[in-house]
């Protein structure tokens, strides 16, 4: 086991594509670190740099006390689980698991012991003689993990390992991963674009965009205090509501919403409110008008989509080109209420929000204003 350190790592691909831009990140020994971001943000490139599949253009990568920039993948002693598992199709599960140990000339008896141990741990005992083609998606996934773990690597790299599983299996495997990590304590770097995985799995998460580290911290901390507009728009589902506004003399006005904030510099701002921070009654808190558009009862909560006066803000974290601007100059708002709240499309009401739950960002730099 070992710590993994990125020190000013930049990766430029032929054609001047900058996949990683001066990434500095320290992953402690035994830590479970999540790299999260939209596709193309450089998270996979970062992982491949640790694995030795890509060579950084600038900067150094350290595993343990060794700089590994010029070390071949085989000598780095890290293991990786690929998104598509990359099981060797012509080998049985047993031989897939044993391959890495054989390459390292581990004695046969020792290989057998470790393969049996890991396959018992992952529930693969009955599958050892099968070929990957004869396994279900979940089984393949477990074999891929087993193949990485059986080597007892110094660092464990996972590249969106759950994205090819169906939703139910994903929830199961998520819990299993967490259990495995608690048990083995291997330094783990986990790449994902999935919110839930990012929030639930990691000790810390590193939010990335355009090859840059946007924010690093414990999941809850990142959720509660997004450092900039990108993180605000990316972390959280449904995403944070963002409305364009203006700060002047300690008072912020965004559309219909007005609230006080001391020591805020004058200028253009974006006002951000998490869907669950909204309440359907004003109660003397700052509030704004809201026109209900769609109501989604989910059983344990109800998600209400609608609009308010004002215009929205692009964060760069939008998944796809969904037209966010509806009905001319109105900003879309999403709110999460208790299931008891009954609303109907077309209804108008005022939504309240506590001032301390309102985030304010500088519209020019995107940085959060405390």
């Amino acid at each position: 086991m070992a710590e993994v350190v990125f020190d000013g790592v930049t990766k430029v691909f032929p054609g001047e594509t900058v996949a990683l831009d001066d990434l500095t990140l320290e992953i402690a020994d035994g830590e479970f670190m999540i790299l999260v971001g939209p596709s193309g943000c450089g998270k996979t490139t970062a992982l491949r740099c640790v694995a030795g599949l890509e060579r950084p253009t600038r900067g150094t990568i350290r595993v343990g006390d060794r700089v590994v920039n010029d070390v071949t993948p085989r000598d780095r002693d890290v293991a990786m689980v690929f998104q598509n598992y990359a099981l060797y199709p012509h080998m049985s599960v047993y031989r897939n698991l044993a391959f890495g140990l054989r390459q390292r000339r581990v004695p046969k008896a020792e290989i057998d012991r470790r393969v049996r141990e890991i396959s018992a741990m992952l529930g693969l005992d009955d599958l050892l003689r099968r070929r990957p083609a004869q396994l279900s998606g979940g089984q393949r996934q477990r074999v891929a993990m087993g193949r990485a773990l059986v080597r007892e690597p110094r660092a464990f790299l996972l590249d969106e390992p759950l994205s090819n599983l169906d939703a139910k299996l994903r929830v199961q495997m998520r819990a299993e991963l967490k259990r495995l990590h608690a048990r083995l304590g291997i330094t783990t770097i986990y790449v994902t674009h999935d919110q839930t995985e990012a929030m639930t799995l990691g000790d810390r998460i590193a939010v990335m965009s355009n090859g840059r580290l946007q924010q690093l911290g414990a999941p809850q901390e990142v959720y509660d205090h997004p450092a900039n507009l990108f993180v605000a728009g990316f972390i959280g589902s449904p995403p944070m509501n963002l409305v364009r506004g203006r700060a002047e003399g300690g008072r912020v006005v965004a559309g219909d919403l007005t609230f006080e904030r001391s020591r805020i510099p004058d200028g253009e701002v974006a006002v951000g409110i998490r869907p669950e921070a909204l309440s359907p009654s004003a109660d003397g808190t700052p509030s704004f008008e809201f026109l209900v558009d769609v109501v989604e009862p989910l059983g344990d909560e109800v998600v209400v989509h609608g609009t308010t006066t004002g215009s929205t803000v692009e964060t760069g974290a939008e998944e796809e080109e969904v037209p966010t601007q509806v009905e001319g100059a109105r900003a879309p708002i999403t709110a999460r209420f208790d299931p008891g709240v009954r609303l109907a499309p077309g209804e108008r009401l005022r939504l309240g929000v506590r001032p301390d739950r309102i985030h304010v960002f500088d519209l020019r730099t995107g940085a959060a204003i405390p």
Partner: protein, 297 residues
């Protein structure tokens, strides 16, 4: 998301038998316009073979008869034994087998190495070099025959079987074929193997080649046929009759003044047996390999 990931489809598709092989559901013969073209073509292909078979069991006089005698008066199997007695036929067969085997093995080995390098390594000038290799496919053998001869003579290999083996150990066709095939394999398999501790050569021999059965079989069959049937090069490099290959040996039945057509055809039939056997055995791989590399013919 489906259980079978997209990524695995190509490799598994290769490893599975083709769906239209094995036990086809018997369908009644349906006539289509294509048969008007295919049937005459089939006749054109098969008539020389039949004629060869017939001639090989006739007497010399019957072979000279006009119009040709299509049903011999008696079947002369002794033509075959006479060929074996009159010429070192078994020796030629052995020579040809040795040469062909070595050339096939050499091509599989060296073309794999070169093809893999062109497919997966990033090195300066790779694409230019690959283009040059491809360009050699356009150079007719007659153009390089004399320079090759001079080199082989310098190496002191003239009139030995090595003269046939050494210049043919690798070829542009094989390099091209294997490179194209290797590029279709999912690269993650190779990356996984490298992280698992395999060297670049280890990846090639333990992961890539075991998954390249169809392409390797295609290359083996094509190389076998070319080498087995090669005539011009053995003709100019081999002088001693016991060093001959089959194709050169066959010409000894063809004199300036008289041709022993019946013996020639008997020898021909025998020389074709291994080729036909191989073709029938490897046909399924052969056709699949050609299909998977997107090459026709």
């Amino acid at each position: 998301m489906s259980e079978r990931t997209l990524f695995e489809a190509p490799v598994e598709a290769i490893l599975k038998p083709l769906p239209d092989e094995g036990e086809p559901t018997r369908r009644r013969f349906l006539f289509s316009g294509w048969h008007l073209v295919l049937l005459p073509l089939a006749v054109v292909m098969i008539v020389p073979l039949l004629w060869m078979l017939i001639t090989s069991v006739e007497t010399l006089n019957e072979t000279r008869h006009f119009p040709p005698i299509l049903v011999p008066h008696q079947i002369r199997w002794q033509n075959y034994t006479q060929v074996l007695r009159q010429a070192p036929f078994a020796r030629w067969m052995l020579n040809t087998l040795i040469v062909t085997t070595l050339v096939v093995i050499g091509n599989l080995f060296f073309c794999s190495l070169a093809g893999y390098a062109f497919a997966r390594f990033r090195f300066f000038g790779r694409d230019v070099v690959f283009l040059l290799v491809l360009a050699t496919l356009m150079v007719p053998f007659q153009v390089i025959m004399i320079p090759t001869f001079l080199i082989v003579r310098k190496l002191g290999l003239i009139d030995t079987l090595w003269a046939l083996v050494v210049p043919n150990l690798a070829g542009a066709f094989g390099i091209f074929l294997l490179r194209q095939f290797f590029r279709t394999l999912p690269i993650e398999l190779e990356e996984a193997a490298r992280i698992d501790g395999a060297s670049r050569l280890g990846v090639l021999f333990k992961i890539v080649l075991p998954l390249s059965g169809p392409a390797l079989a295609t290359l083996a069959v094509v190389t076998f046929l070319w080498t087995w049937n090669d005539f011009l090069w053995p003709l100019i490099t081999l002088y001693t009759p016991t060093h001959y290959t089959l194709q050169v040996g066959l010409t000894t039945f063809q004199g300036a003044h008289q041709t022993n057509t019946h013996l020639l055809m008997a020898a021909n039939v025998m020389s074709m047996v291994p080729v036909l056997l191989l073709f029938f055995l490897a046909q399924r791989y052969f056709i699949r390999g050609i299909a998977t590399t997107g090459l026709k013919g």
